[in-house]
């Protein structure tokens, strides 16, 4: 209608100030109060993951049999575990492990899923059926069960956790990208590119992929939370990091024997996992409001 057109068109360009998608994004991002805080927290977390080992007050691996299972105090701000290792230092080291594992697994899953989703949505036909039916099969298993199965086959260890979590991320990414691809495929500018003789590769990566990018970024930020949980669960079950590694999941696993007596041993890594997952989810929600055209209210 003319009404909305008139009002919308008026916001396109302001005089000579040049439009840039990035500036637009930052402007909208500042309006998302919660997500702004959450993203600051994630930034802090990333910093910790990088410089954590240099600022940690204690060696996270070194047992101290004089200070076993101490509660939070002046010497050890987050207390110590059953071997007298400083929990705070272990958390700082653990941030690096948790973030590396989750980022790596989600990015691998996103790349795999995006390629499969693009192919599936763009070409359709038997390829589409093959890819979608395979992911249906994978969807039939609960995520964590699938991850357990994969690690059980590959053997325990952090590398295998990354592989397991990325594999179970692939189908969700494939589905998401496929649906945006189906939509983008019908746009007139894709038709225009076809009429110019653009190759399938060019159409997929130059014209369709950018259209899916918004929802892809939103989904990645959401999946990072899930991946941290999954990796922690695997470590908790003893399938991930070895017990002496300062991984948050592994710390939880060790602490469970002292749940009744020294709650802080479980509480501290628990809180770390909780806050991190929450932050990523809030950021994901905020990104959705800013980026995802489907939920954008014009």
């Amino acid at each position: 209608m003319e009404l909305s057109k008139a009002v919308n068109s008026s916001t396109t360009i302001k005089k000579e100030k040049k439009y840039s998608p990035l500036r637009e994004l930052l402007k909208n991002w500042k309006k998302q109060k919660n997500a702004l805080w959450a993203s600051l927290f994630i930034l802090l977390l990333i910093t910790v993951a990088i410089i954590g080992p240099f600022i940690a007050p204690y060696d996270p691996y070194k047992p101290d049999y004089n200070a076993m299972l101490q509660g939070p105090g002046i010497d050890h701000i987050a207390g110590t575990d059953e071997y007298g290792r400083d929990i705070f230092s272990r958390l700082l080291f653990g941030a690096r492990i948790s973030l590396t594992v989750s980022f790596l697994s989600v990015f691998l899953g996103a790349i795999g899923g995006t390629i499969l989703g693009l192919l599936s949505g763009y070409f359709g036909g038997w390829l589409d059926r093959l890819i979608m039916r395979s992911s249906d099969v994978m969807f039939a298993f609960p995520d964590i069960l699938l991850a357990i199965a994969i690690v059980a086959i590959l053997g325990p260890g952090l590398t295998n956790v990354v592989i397991a979590v990325s594999i179970f991320s692939i189908p969700s990414f494939a589905r998401l990208v496929r649906s945006s691809t189906l939509e983008a495929k019908e746009t007139v500018f894709v038709e225009a590119a076809k009429s110019m003789g653009a190759s399938h590769f060019r159409i997929m990566f130059q014209h369709i992929l950018p259209e899916t990018l918004g929802s892809l970024i939103v989904f990645i930020s959401m999946r990072i939370g899930t991946a941290i949980l999954a990796a922690s669960s695997l470590s908790f079950l003893g399938l991930g990091a070895s017990p002496e590694t300062p991984d948050w999941g592994a710390m939880l696993s060790l602490g469970r024997d002292y749940l009744g007596t020294s709650t802080h041993v479980v509480m501290m890594p628990g809180i770390a996992i909780f806050l991190t997952v929450l932050a990523f989810n809030i950021v994901g929600d905020g990104l959705r409001d800013v980026l995802d055209p489907k939920t954008k209210n014009e």
């Binding site: 003319e2 009404l3 008139a6 009002v7 008026s10």
Partner: protein, 330 residues
């Protein structure tokens, strides 16, 4: 002839991102009893906003009327009416038809139900009488098998049929004024001819006043008695339809008429208006048409031209016609 509707100095604005954008800047015009008035303009001219302002249909938008008067039936100022009072006027005294009938019909309600709603509400007829009235209206707008259509849903009908249903709904309570916003733009040429023909017949039979909003000068020439031309939220020219096409005064109207390709016209090159339709939030100083005008003068960039009365009850807002050239300042 008596004036049915008189719009005076109407100003309407919208708010976007806390920024107020004025869309109508003092719109003046009137409609006589039983007259077809054309409101012509391109996108962004404010012609549709004008009709929404008359109906005060701003629900769900940031639109609001700043100032002005909308006198209906003599001295009733619609601007002072409450929403409840407006609801009694809408559909009963002033009815409206929109461009895309599918968006104004409820897809999950039977045609009959939708048609009966205003009849029950405004005419207070009992069920059987209301139904008879509805069927007779459908027949009046040329719908075959009217009784059966009452039990069908909008998606079962073609675009032309849906527009007929919309017209039936609009005239069901014998309104004094019918506002038709691009009623035939979404239709194919042969169907458009049917609908325009129908509207003309109904208007003459019912002695309705019609405000026809359109961008199509062909439709205006076929349908209207008087024409109001809008540009950038202002009325730039008002004239009898014959005078307007015979001797357009405002350079914009001249350009508009010249730029339409006409059948049988052997012209290598169309006359066109240079530049682009301006954005409502970035209007130039002075006359809003100045940057695109062929007859522009220094004063046009400085001051907005006043509405000038010319001979034959026409008016034009352009510095070309200031006092010494025969215009009388309003």
């Amino acid at each position: 002839m008596e004036k049915l509707l008189q719009v005076e100095k109407l100003e309407t604005q919208f708010t976007k991102d806390k920024q107020k954008i004025k869309i109508l800047h003092g719109v003046n015009f009137h409609i006589h009893q039983g007259e077809v008035l054309g409101l012509v303009g391109e996108s962004g001219s404010g012609k549709s906003i004008t009709s929404l302002s008359i109906m005060k249909l701003f629900k769900g938008t940031s639109g609001e009327i700043n100032s002005g008067r909308i006198l209906f039936n003599g001295d009733e100022d619609l601007i002072n009416k409450s929403e409840t009072e407006m609801r009694k006027i809408r559909g009963k005294q002033i009815a409206m038809i929109f461009q895309e009938p599918m968006t104004s019909l409820n897809p999950v309600m039977k045609i009959g139900e939708q048609l009966l709603e205003p009849i029950r509400l405004h005419l207070g007829l009992e069920e059987k009488k209301a139904k008879e009235h509805a069927v007779s209206i459908l027949k009046k707008v040329g719908i075959p098998r009217a009784e059966e259509i009452m039990n069908e849903f909008p998606h079962q009908l073609s675009g032309g049929m849906r527009q007929r249903i919309m017209i039936a709904m609009a005239i069901s309570c014998n309104p004094q004024l019918l506002i038709a916003d691009e009623p035939s733009t979404a239709l194919d040429v042969t169907i458009q001819a049917q609908i325009l023909d129908l509207m003309k017949q109904l208007q003459q039979k019912e002695k309705m006043s019609v405000l026809l909003i359109t961008h199509d000068l062909g439709v205006v020439a076929e349908m209207c008695e008087r024409v109001v031309v809008m540009y950038a939220g202002r009325v730039v020219e008002e004239a009898d339809v014959f005078d307007l096409f015979e001797s357009p005064k405002h350079p914009y109207t001249k350009g508009l008429i010249a730029s339409v390709p006409k059948l049988g016209q052997k012209k290598e090159k169309l006359d066109s208006i240079k530049g682009n339709v301006p954005n409502p939030s970035e209007l130039p100083k002075g006359c809003k048409f100045a940057p695109r005008c062929n007859d522009v003068m220094p004063i046009c960039y400085e001051q907005e031209p006043p509405e000038l009365n010319l001979e034959n009850a026409r008016s034009c807002s352009c510095w070309l016609y200031k006092e010494e050239r025969g215009g009388i300042r309003v």
